[in-house]
C-alpha cells in the first residue's frame, strides 16, 4: 500500500528566511493533507519505458466536451523515400498523405474525435527506432487544445497506435472562461507524432509526421488562403531543401506546400511551426504583422498602439505562431522572399517565395530581363496545369 502526504515543496522551508517558503506552498499548515492514494506513476527517461495502452479510468473526453461535434479519419502512411530518408505523412486518406499533414481548423467550443489509422509498416518503424525496447507505433500529440491522458499521444500514457491498429483521439477547443481563468485555446498550433523512434517522436517528426492547426474564436478575421510552413534543421522549409526540390513551377505556380501564391489584397494566413533541434528566424519580405494572437489588430482595440509590429520572428522547436497579411498591401505584386534569417540556413536553401499576383491574377512582366523566354503572352485558358 502506498500512501503519502502532499506536504511541502522541496526544498523544505528554511530557517531564517521570511519569504522563500511562501511562494512554494501557500497555507501549508492548513493544507497538510493525508491522502489516500492509489498512485501509478510511470517516468519515461533515457532508461525505462512503460509500454501501457489501455486506460480504464482516465476520462476519454476532456471536461467541457460532452460529445464530439465532428469525427474524422486520419491515416499515417509511409511515403516515397527522399533519397535514403524515410518519409512518413498524415492524410485524411492514405492516398493524400503528405508532409506537412492536412491543416486542421477548429472553432473555440468545438470538440473533434480523430481516428488515427497506423498504416506504416512495422518494419519501417523498426528501422526508425533507436532502442529495441521502444514500442512500435505512431501517435497524435497536439498543442494548444485540450485532451485527456488517453489522447496525449505518448508512450508513457499508452496513447499510441501499433502498426495496423487504430485509436481515436479527442480534442477540445476549450473556450475562454473568465470564471476558471482559462485563457481559451484560440491560436496557431500544430500536431505531431510523439512515439516514432523514441519517447519524444524525434524520428517521426524528422520523417514528416506533423501538421498545422488553427483554432479560431468567433469574430476572428477569416483568411482567403492558409499556408503552413514548417522549419526543421537540415531540412529546409516543409522538409524541402530549397529551390532545388521545390515543387513550385516558376512559370505557372500552383499553390502547394512550398508554392505560396496569392493575388494582391487576398488575406493570406501563415501557420509557422518549428521542429527539430535548432532555432530559426522567420522573415517575410515586404510584409509585416502585429505580434498578437491573430497577427492583426482590429478597430478600436486599446492595446493596438502598444503591440510590436514585426517582420521577423524567432522560432524554436515546438513553437508555432501565425498571422494574416493582405498580400502585396502597399508593396504591390512581386516575388516576395520568405526565409530563415539565420544566414547559413538561408544560404543552405531555407528560403522560398510568396508570389503575389496583381488583382487580376497576373504578375507584371519586365522585372527579369535575363529570362525573356518566360515572358509569355497574356491570354485566357481553362486548362489547368497539373504539378506533382
Amino acid at each position: 500500500m502506498t500512501a503519502w502526504r502532499l506536504t511541502e515543496d522541496a526544498p523544505p522551508p528554511e530557517d531564517g528566511m521570511e519569504t522563500s517558503g511562501e511562494p512554494r506552498r501557500r497555507r501549508s499548515s492548513t493544507r497538510l493533507l493525508v491522502v489516500a492514494a492509489t498512485v501509478l506513476l510511470t517516468l519515461v527517461g533515457a532508461g525505462g519505458l512503460a509500454i501501457a495502452r489501455s486506460g480504464a479510468i482516465f476520462a476519454e473526453r476532456p471536461e467541457g466536451c460532452v460529445k464530439p461535434d465532428r469525427t474524422m479519419q486520419l491515416y499515417a502512411v509511409e511515403l516515397p523515400k527522399d533519397g535514403t530518408q524515410i518519409r512518413l505523412g498524415y492524410g485524411t486518406s492514405p492516398q493524400t498523405a503528405s508532409y506537412p499533414g492536412p491543416t486542421m481548423e477548429m472553432m473555440e467550443g468545438e470538440c473533434v474525435a480523430i481516428t488515427l489509422h497506423n498504416l506504416v509498416p512495422a518494419a519501417t518503424l523498426e528501422q526508425l527506432r533507436t532502442n529495441p525496447a521502444h514500442p512500435l507505433g505512431v501517435s497524435l500529440h497536439v498543442h494548444g487544445v485540450k485532451y485527456t491522458q488517453l489522447s496525449d499521444g505518448t508512450v508513457q500514457s499508452g496513447s499510441f497506435v501499433p502498426p495496423g491498429e487504430s485509436r481515436t483521439y479527442t480534442w477540445y477547443a476549450q473556450p475562454r472562461n473568465k470564471k476558471t481563468g482559462s485563457p481559451g485555446t484560440a491560436g496557431y498550433w500544430w500536431y505531431h507524432d510523439h512515439v516514432v523512434g523514441g519517447p519524444h517522436g524525434t524520428q517521426g517528426l524528422g520523417a514528416g509526421l506533423f501538421g498545422g492547426l488553427v483554432v479560431r474564436r468567433p469574430g476572428d478575421p477569416k483568411p482567403d488562403r492558409t499556408y503552413t510552413v514548417v522549419f526543421g534543421d537540415r531540412q529546409s522549409i516543409n522538409l524541402r531543401r530549397g529551390a532545388a526540390t521545390d515543387t513550385c513551377d516558376a512559370q505557372n505556380p500552383q499553390p502547394g506546400p512550398t508554392c505560396l501564391v496569392a493575388r494582391k489584397g487576398e488575406k493570406v494566413e501563415f501557420i509557422v511551426v518549428g521542429i527539430g533541434n535548432d532555432m530559426h528566424t522567420f522573415h517575410l519580405h515586404g510584409h509585416s504583422w502585429a505580434d498578437t494572437r491573430t497577427g492583426t489588430v482590429s478597430n478600436g482595440e486599446p492595446f493596438a498602439d502598444g503591440v510590436p509590429i514585426i517582420d521577423n520572428k524567432p522560432l524554436g522547436p515546438g513553437d508555432s505562431f501565425g498571422f494574416q497579411v493582405a498580400a502585396g498591401d502597399s508593396v504591390g505584386p512581386g516575388h516576395w522572399m520568405l526565409h530563415c534569417h539565420m544566414q547559413f540556413h538561408s544560404d543552405g536553401g531555407m528560403s522560398t517565395m510568396l508570389h503575389v499576383l496583381d488583382e487580376s491574377g497576373a504578375m507584371p512582366p519586365g522585372h527579369d530581363h535575363s529570362h525573356p523566354a518566360t515572358a509569355a503572352g497574356a491570354g485566357a485558358t481553362t486548362g489547368q496545369h497539373q504539378h506533382n
Copy 2:
C-alpha cells in the same frame, strides 16, 4: 584631471543626411555640455580585471527604498559533487542550500536586504576559476528589481564576497510610476552568481548558484504551489539529467525541485529560467497559458482577446518567465510531460512530469498495465514518506 564634453554619439553627424543624426542625439546644439567630471571607469573584458570592493560614494540603497522592509541571510555553500562535477548552492541556512536556491517572493514596493555569506572554500573557487588573475568570491546578481552598483554582484563594481566574508545586497521592487515612466518590476525573475570562475560567473552558474524570484503586484492572482524549473545546457532541468537522477519517487511523489506534483484545480505557478549557452523551448503537455506578465488574463481586460495563448516558449540564457495554470483544467489528472521541445535535449533527458492528482489527492489507476506491482491499494496514513 579628466574632463570631457558629452556631445555627440559616434559616428558623428554626417553631411548630406537629413535624418540620421537626429535619433542619435536630440537637440545636440542646445545640450552641448561642458561637464566637470571625475570619471572612474573600469571595463571588464577578456583582458583586464578590476578588483575593487569598497564603495564609499555610490548609494547603498536604490532610490525609493528608504530602508529595507525585511532582511534575510543567504549562504553560498559547496554541496556534494555530482560525479566529478562541483556543485554549489544558495540556502537560507547552510544545511538547506540547494540548486536551484530558495525561490524568493517580493511585492512591488518592498525593499529587502540580503546578507550573503560565502562559505565556499577558497580551494574550490580556485578550481573553478579559469584565469589566475580573477578574484576568488561569490556574488548575488539579480534580474528585474532595482539595486545600486554596490549590489550589482560583479567584479568590476567590487560587489562580491571573498571566501569567509559576508556582504549585504539591497533589492528594491520598484513599483510602476506613471510620472517617471517606470513600468514597475513585477514579473518572473531570477538571481545568480556573477563572479565564480570569471567575470560573468559562468562556473558559478554551471555549479548551481541560481534561484527563482517572483515579484507580485497588489491584486495579482496567488498560486497554490510554485515550482522553479531551470534549463541549462548539458544539464537537464534543474541540473538533474533526466529521470535517471530524478529524485521523484514514482510511487509516492513528494513535491521537490524535480518532482512536480499538484492536485486537480490547484493553481500551479511555474518560474522558468534559462542558463548556460543554449536556447531551449519549454513545453508543457495538456496546459497552456496567456503570454502576459502573469500568464493569466483576468476579467474585463481589454487586451485579453489579442494576447497569444501558448504552450511552448523559447528560452535563452538569462531569460525568465512564469505563469499560472489550473492543474488538470479540462484535461483531468495524469502525468503531464514537461520538456524541452528541442528533440536532442528531450531525448537526452531534459524532460520531467507534472503529476496531477485528482481533487482528493489520488491518481486514477489503470492507465499503466505494465507496472501492476505499483498498483498500490488505497488507504490513509499519516506517515510521511521522506525522500532525498
Copy 3:
C-alpha cells in the same frame, strides 16, 4: 503562352475530412478562377541565380507614397581591414561610413528616397563572393517599412547596385490603417545588404553593411540618446570583439558605437539587432523595460498591467527590437553591464557598459580602489577629447 488557374492549395482537398480543406482555401468553388497570366518567376536557391536589374512595370513607389518627402545619399565603402577581415560600411558620406551605418529615423506617413552609391571596389566584392556566377554589387534591404520589388535589394528582383553605380530605394513608413487592417510600420527595424557574396548578403552582413532604423508614431516618447547595438556571431557587439577592441576610453568616455554614455535621467533608446547565424540574449544590468512596441507604457493604457517587464530578451538573426529607459532610474549612476547572457558569448567579449553619469555629468568616485590613478580631480574644461 502560360496560363493557369489559381485553384486549390496543395495538398488537394481530401476525402473524409470535413475540416482540413477549409482553412487552406476558402470558397474555392466560387473562386475557381481562370486567370489570364503573364507570369515571370525567378526562384533563387542554392542553384540558379537570376541576374536581372531593370524593372519597367513594377511600381517605383509603394502605394501611399505619392512622392518622397525627403531624399538622402548613402555610400557603401570599403573600410580599413580588421586584421584580415574585410570591413564595409554605409555612410551618408564616404568619409563617415561605419559599421553600424547611420541610424535612420522616420515618422509614420513619411516616404524617403535613398540613393545608394556603390563605392566598394569590384575586386573586394569578388573576394567576398562564394560563387563566381553570383553578380557583383551591394544593396539596401530594409525591414518593417514598405517598398516595391524595385527597392527589395535582392538579386532575384534585380534591385542591387553594381560597383561604381547608383540606385535609388524608396521606403514608405505606412501608417496604421483601420480599414485595410494594416498595423502600421512604427517600430525598431534595421537595414542591410542582401547581395554581397551570395543571394542573402551573408558576406555583406558579416563585413558591416547594416544599420538601425526607428519608425516613430506621432505621440511616441522621444529619447535623449539613441544607441544601436548589433549582435553577431563570433563578432561581439557591433563587430567589436569586447573591451580589447572597444573604442571607449575608460577615463573619458565619448559616446560612440561601443561607448554608451548617458547622464542620469536621460531617456536612452536602444535599437538592438541580431545578425549572422546564432541566437543571443540581450541583458542590461540595473534597467528593465516593458515588452511593448516602444519599451514603455504610458498613462492610462489599459494593457499596461498585463505586459511583461523584461531585462533580458532573446534575439535571433534578422530580429530587431528597441526600448527606452531612464538612465540610472532608482539604481543611480554607475557602469552598468550590457552583455549577451549566453555565457560563452559574454566570456568571449560580447559585453560592454552603459556608463551612467550623475545629473551633473560626473561619475561618483570611490567604487574602484584598484585604479587610484584614474581618480582624476574635478574641474571644468571646454576641451573636447577626441577618440578614434
